[in-house]
Amino acid sequence: MKFYRWLLITGIGLIFIGLIIYSITNLWDLKTIIPLAIGLGLTIFSLIKLDFTQIIKNRRFQYGSNAIIVILLVVAIVGLLDFFLARHTIRIDTTASKIFSLSDQTRKILKNLDKDVTVLAFVKDINKESVEDLLKEYAHLSKHFKYELIDPDEKPAIAKRHRVKAYGNLVIICNDREEQIDQATEEKITNAIIKVTREEKKKVYFVSGHGEGSITDNERYGFSKAKEAILEQNYEVEDLLLADKDSIPDNASVIVLPGPKKELFEHEKEMLKDYIDRGGSVLLMLDPRPSIGLIEFLKPYGVQVGDDIVIDASGLGRLFGAGPDIPLVANYGSHPIVSEMGNYMTFFPGVRSVRKDEENNDTKIKIVELAKTSPQSYAVKNFEEMYKTGKIKISKDDEKGPIPIAVAVTKNVEKDENKIRDKARLVVVGDSDFATNAYFSNQANGDLFMNMINWLLADEDLISIRPKSPDVRTVNMTPAQVKTVFWLTVIILPAISFIVGVLVYIRRR
């Protein structure tokens, strides 16, 4: 009798083990089926041997099983109720500045989310809490949103697989697309979700056919590194042979002219002009030599491209192994492209001046000078000889620095059926080498280039969300007051409670 009772318990135990294994692996394989089958067999066998009918007739068994069934039923009903109520929750954030509430834009995006998005947050302990608070709010709003906090030191393999660049970075994943952001702010997370879930990828075209550097070229003067950086942001990069096209492709988000060495054909210029006038974005990188005729092309946009080369006499570049013909730039204008550059330096090997044309007073145009060389630099006009001999010669009439070398232009677009955006965007740089493979990783060159591309992309889908911060609520106490609190909370209050307890005890005796 006793043996079979143990057999019954073993059988039920095995069934449970089988179910637990299934819940972990989610697979019906031998590991789950074997314990389940053996457990089931043992249970039935021992029940037969224990004379099943006898047990059932037992009064205690009847009451007991009744109670168990009722309990299971009640638990199941309450559980189901919870499950349904959990889908329709009311959530009220009572904090004064609503720090735990997401913006309406994010809510809308999460509501329409129909693909699974996973966020991997590679955070260390210090930031963990605030990051989790934020991600939790996202998870509350969509069942397609999952997140995981990962310590990059504990799980370096995962960090490596997602090419995590720094502590605190977040990787947003949707199917095979990934987007990495460096800060857990609502704006960045939501925009990353928009990017990875977007149906069609946007394209960045590099114009070819005029001796420009190529995006497939891995050598010094190629743009393969720039291409990689753009790909990482979930945009596509492609070559564009302008000459055999009738117009700029419709799916173009940005057109890059990476240092053309030959004149553009008239019809190519027409295409570009038409594209810009419809609200397109163009990045023009024009080297001092060979100088091509885009100078005239740019005049209507208020951009003045100088026929000169900037020589940096400050000697600062020497610290980084750069000669005077590679001006160092650490002086940036006020513009979204350069707002985060701070004191980071950028190199421009062989750069010509590009400045705002003060005489242009077209009200539709807004133009900002992005970067200037040091005050000890000169815009040298007659540099043909310098090119031949390699000797630097600064003459008296050469303009003294700071020399502007890059501008950003926005132009309002008039009513147009084929309008791409409300505002055309144009960035003109007096150099193309700064973004080539040779210099892309030097100092902040790559960052500057990517900032330009990102500004030109001007994703209308992307949104801006004002960052929330808690309201200021301080407590001001003198050390004496803190001490009072200590005495009151740790000594006096508990002591009162204990004394009352003793008094009660004495009175009862």
Binding site: V78, T89, S469, V472
Partner: protein, 255 residues
Amino acid sequence: MSNIIAIFKRDARGYFTSPIAYIVIGLFLVVSGIFFYLMLRSFLQYSYAAMMQRAGYPINVNLMLIRPFLLNTSVIILFIVPIITMRSFSEDKKSGTMELLLTSPITNSQIIIGKFIASYLLYTVMVSMTFIFMIFLFIWGKPQFMPIFIGYIGILLLGAALVATGNFISSLTENQIVAAIGTFGATMLLWVIGFAGDFAGKVFGNILKYLSIIEHFDDFSKGIFDTNHLVFYLSLMLIMLFLTYQSIESSKWRG
């Protein structure tokens, strides 16, 4: 109703005329008081440092002091509740008064509700004492009231679920020590069960995470009121009260 009140009065008197209630409250106040004092001090140090540097994150006492304090208190509660509830049924069972109660015209559910309210009253008195700490903050600073209010609602809901659990386990045994240790084990299990959720499969893991009792308190400590957590605590309380009922009923046929 009058029967419930009669049971409630009897049990409440039992708590407050014996030193146990005062010792539990005193103990709880010492522990949470020390934590409050230490957290207050480091919060003040942090805010002075931040003021000197005139930079960084805005100082917010609700987020930086009250929230961690409430979270901390919720964990202390896990340790204290077993002491509160250990005697509710066990003592009557041991002294034989339980049989008198069961044979009296008072129904079992009235007994259970009366006893639950009595031990819950002790719990409520105990946790509301910590509100004095908040008053200090209002005297010398300007915390926001609503998140604190929501936090205390959370503590009361958490307590309802825990006290009901303690009552159930106390109804299983006539030994108070066993009841206390059993309740402690149960509360610990309800606390750590969520961690297991990370390792289990998807559906099962989500269920385990849902059962984690402290996880549901997190939103309350932030000042967020979410009906999801309200439903969780109330249903846990109801299930535990129902189990207590079954456990009392079973004495009829268990023999």
